[in-house]
């Protein structure tokens, strides 16, 4: 059963390599986009930390900024 699934009448190498390439591409793209996201979010948090209290209060009053600060890396 396992052998049949792996070999697939001699087409196993083609089938498995096509699926493996697809999954590898998915994983690579996901990791790249996630890294970019985390990098930008950390940059935002660091910049936010350098604002004085008045500017921070103004920035925090904007809903998007609040969302970014509250969204921990949970993707």
């Amino acid at each position: 059963m396992i052998n049949e699934l792996l070999l697939m009448n001699g087409y196993g190498l083609y089938v498995w390599s096509a699926f493996a390439f697809t999954m590898f591409s998915f994983l690579t793209l996901y990791m790249i986009i996630k890294t970019q996201y985390v990098k930008e979010r950390n940059k935002f948090i660091a910049k936010f930390g350098t604002l004085n209290s008045k500017r921070a209060a103004f920035a925090k009053s904007q809903s998007v900024n609040k969302e970014i600060l509250s969204s921990s890396s949970n993707i």
């Binding site: 697939m8 096509a18 699926f19 949970n74």
Partner: protein
């Protein structure tokens, strides 16, 4: 109506959605892989090689769909001066490019056992390669002109040229004698594919669509945070 396109209004939803989309993608992909690799029957002519169809065809459909969406959004955004349309287009492009690459590579792998060659300069394959270059040019244009207002005009022009290639890809198998087989699935006429193969194909298409949605949401959120970073600089 256009006020609903404002990034500020969308971010609340898009920042929470990826984790649910990822979960749904993993579930659907697991079902799809089980169907495609184990449960679906082998083809009477191609034997198990037909299973490559379950990654090749959805990838090709989605890359064509994404480029069409990018073009529509770019033109719409350019006419009505809606920057968010460009932001959405830009966020869609990475998954479109990767699906194009998957379609090309898996097509090449499928070509070896069925046609006896990894590559042929056939109309369908060549036009898919041309689309791949349009994706590259589009993304490079964003990279080069990102800080320049000309980027909207340049990327729209690229998509207008690129969209001409979409009907060529679709009808190339009808217009020319190609190694590539004609479409087995037709919306307006009877499909030649059996239901036992159509079902896993549709599940894999749903999984791939969810993956492109996931990547789009993550990229879109990244772009919004980038804009907000610039906003903090101006404070």
């Amino acid at each position: 109506m256009f006020k609903y396109f404002e990034p500020n209004k969308i971010f609340a939803a898009t920042s929470k959605a990826p984790k649910y989309v990822l979960l749904l993608f993993i579930i659907i992909l697991s079902i799809g892989l089980t169907e495609a690799l184990i449960l679906s029957p082998e083809d009477y002519k191609q034997s198990h090689a037909v299973r490559i169809m379950y990654v090749h065809v959805p990838a090709a459909w989605i890359t064509l769909g994404i480029f069409s969406a990018i073009t529509f959004l770019s033109i719409f955004g350019f006419i009505f001066k809606i920057r968010n349309c460009f932001l959405i287009s830009k966020s869609l492009a990475p998954s479109g490019l990767v699906f194009n690459l998957i379609a090309l590579v898996t097509g090449s792998i499928w070509g070896k056992p069925t046609w006896g060659t990894w590559w042929a300069w056939d109309a369908r394959i060549t036009s898919m390669l041309v689309l791949f270059f349009f994706y590259i040019i589009y993304l490079v244009a964003w990279r080069i002109y990102e800080k320049n207002d000309k980027v909207f005009k340049i990327t729209t022009i690229i998509t207008i040229f690129g969209i001409v290639n979409i009907p060529v890809i679709k009808y190339s198998v009808d217009w020319w004698n190609t190694l590539h087989q004609p479409a087995s699935i037709n919306i307006f006429s009877e499909s030649s594919i059996h239901i036992s193969m159509l079902f896993p194909l549709l599940i894999m298409t749903a999984a791939f669509a969810l993956f492109s949605l996931l990547i789009f949401l993550m990229k879109y959120n990244t772009e919004l945070i980038k804009i907000k970073n610039k906003g903090l600089d101006r404070l």
